[in-house]
């Protein structure tokens, strides 16, 4: 699908989020173009998962706003949020498959909850999604019988089974072997383009990110340190972006955990 930067499906504006006195996100703004795959990158603990939770409405910002398709997520009622979440597929860190359900029932759960499809239709839908991630024939397995890569693909099938408009991926490749990483990465691109989705990917994997995404935001110390197409970021002048993209030990991104949050506000 063509990218049109003038028509972002998600607008994040001046987002501030605190935990106690610690400032996690300090004035973050992002535009996610419709139909694109956008990466959010940054060191561990910087608040990438927090951004996804703010976009999906699980957390409320202290100030600033998240607008999806023209609606403010932070102002949605419980009921509106309920409807909104049908349009947002989420693949959580580690997949979060329901351990007491089979692969088939895992993928079927959102459909059962939100529609009254007759069983044969439901079965065809779920099997089609499993086939699309290359896992036809695994429907009767339990999650603990799957490899890490397979589990991640089941979670992908589950995230898109309701044909959402947006999919949020939280570290979809973490802990996978190189082949599984390429497989999952290719599936994310295929699913995004064939279903006309918009995807946000939180990832650490600089090499895969360069191949997969259209645009990239790098977060450091609660702020956007750099943004741009992945090709441009590798040669960025910004010291924090350069440090992260090229894996350097020395640079402005601190090695230690700052519990007070004071440095951040002073720097900001």
């Amino acid at each position: 699908m063509a990218m049109n930067p003038n028509d972002p499906i998600i607008r994040v504006r001046n987002l501030v989020f605190r935990r106690g006195s610690r400032v996690i996100l300090d004035d973050v703004s992002m535009d996610i173009p419709r139909g694109g795959i956008v990466a959010i990158m940054g060191p561990s603990g910087v608040g990438k998962t927090t951004i996804l939770r703010l976009i999906s409405g699980q957390l409320k910002p202290d100030s600033g706003s998240v607008e999806v398709n023209g609606t403010m997520v932070s102002e949605m009622s419980e009921k509106a949020l309920h409807e909104f979440r049908k349009d947002v597929g989420v693949l959580l860190q580690n997949g979060a498959l329901f351990t007491d359900l089979t692969v088939f029932e895992n993928v079927a759960t959102p459909v059962r909850e939100h529609s009254n499809l007759p069983e044969p239709v439901l079965r065809r839908l779920v099997m089609a999604k499993l086939h699309s991630v290359g896992l036809g024939g695994t429907e009767d397995l339990m999650p603990h019988e799957l490899s890490g890569g397979m589990a991640r693909r089941v979670a992908l099938a589950r995230a898109v089974v309701l044909d959402p408009k947006i999919v949020l991926f939280d570290e979809p490749m973490a802990g996978l072997d190189p082949i599984a990483i390429s497989t999952v990465s290719r599936l994310m691109r295929e699913t995004n383009d064939s279903l006309g989705l918009t995807s946000i990917v939180v990832t650490h994997n600089v090499a895969q990110m360069k191949k997969l995404v259209d645009f990239c935001y790098i977060i450091a110390a609660g702020k956007i340190a750099g943004e741009g197409p992945p090709g441009d970021l590798g040669s960025s002048e910004d010291p924090a972006v350069d440090q992260f993209m090229n894996g350097k030990v020395d640079g402005p991104i601190p090695f230690h955990y700052d519990a007070s949050g004071k440095n951040w506000s002073l720097l900001g």
Binding site: R85, L92, A96
Partner: protein, 253 residues
């Protein structure tokens, strides 16, 4: 805040939170086929988990009760009253209380650990993100399963305890079976004694499973957090079973 004030307020705050959790669970209660199905499934799981231990314990409690009762009654030449003493104390108190304590240790911990693990592996997050209410989906069926299965387990405990009593009193001590059964039939009442205990055990079942789902649901998402949830479940439900037993007995007996 002053710690001595916190010592007093903390349990009250906790009790309030548990109460709110119960309300949230019951407020969303809709009788649906899927709720029935998962409640039945959970009743089967917690019931099956606890059945063997409850049968074994019931049998031995019946034997030891009879042993003590006969020892005491013999001094008055009244050892033929043993089934009356065993029946009353068993059906009214020991059956419901011991069953609930065993249930807390066996099934309550398992439920708390299971839900805690769902929390730790983000399964509860995943449900919220699918616009599925995890309290309705996970907590409610397990709560209802406790209310349903503890009375049934109590009846089982009672039955096995009577068998234990029969084995000891008649088999070992050589009491007359006719006297044993007729005393039990005429002096122990089905409504007051047996059903009174069963009603109590419904409350115990609800109490234990409420505490188990509450601590599991609110567990810290780590291994240690799951461990704490199971420990808290056993400790708090054991204490509350005994407190509630006294309250219910003094009000309704």
């Amino acid at each position: 805040m002053n710690t001595s004030i916190q010592n007093i307020t903390a349990p009250l705050v906790q009790a309030g939170r548990i109460g709110v959790f119960l309300m949230r669970m019951l407020a969303g209660l809709r009788l649906s086929a899927s709720l029935m199905r998962s409640t039945m499934q959970q009743s089967y799981l917690v019931g099956a988990r606890s059945l063997v231990i409850i049968m074994i314990c019931g049998f031995f409690v019946g034997m030891v009760l009879s042993l003590q009762a006969i020892n005491a009654l013999q001094q008055f030449g009244a050892s033929d009253q043993v089934s009356l003493l065993v029946g009353k104390s068993l059906f009214r108190e020991l059956g419901p209380v011991l069953t609930a304590l065993l249930f807390a240790g066996r099934a309550g911990t398992a439920v708390a650990a299971e839900i805690g693990l769902m929390r730790a592996t983000s399964q509860i997050d995943a449900m919220e993100l699918m616009a599925i209410d995890p309290i309705q989906r996970i907590a409610l069926p397990r709560f209802l399963a406790g209310v349903i299965s503890v009375p049934l387990l109590t009846a089982m405990f009672n039955a096995l305890a009577i068998m234990g009593s029969v084995v000891f009193s008649i088999g070992v001590m050589g009491l007359d079976p006719g006297i044993f059964w007729s005393k039990l039939q005429t002096s122990v009442y089905f409504g007051e004694d047996f059903m009174g205990g069963i009603y109590k055990s419904m409350v115990f079942g609800g109490l234990v499973s409420l505490i188990a789902v509450y601590f599991g649901y609110n567990a810290q998402p780590t291994g240690a957090g799951v461990g704490t949830a199971t420990t808290n479940t056993v400790v708090l439900s054991s204490v509350l079973i005994l407190i509630f037993d006294f309250i219910m007995t003094s009000f309704f007996a």
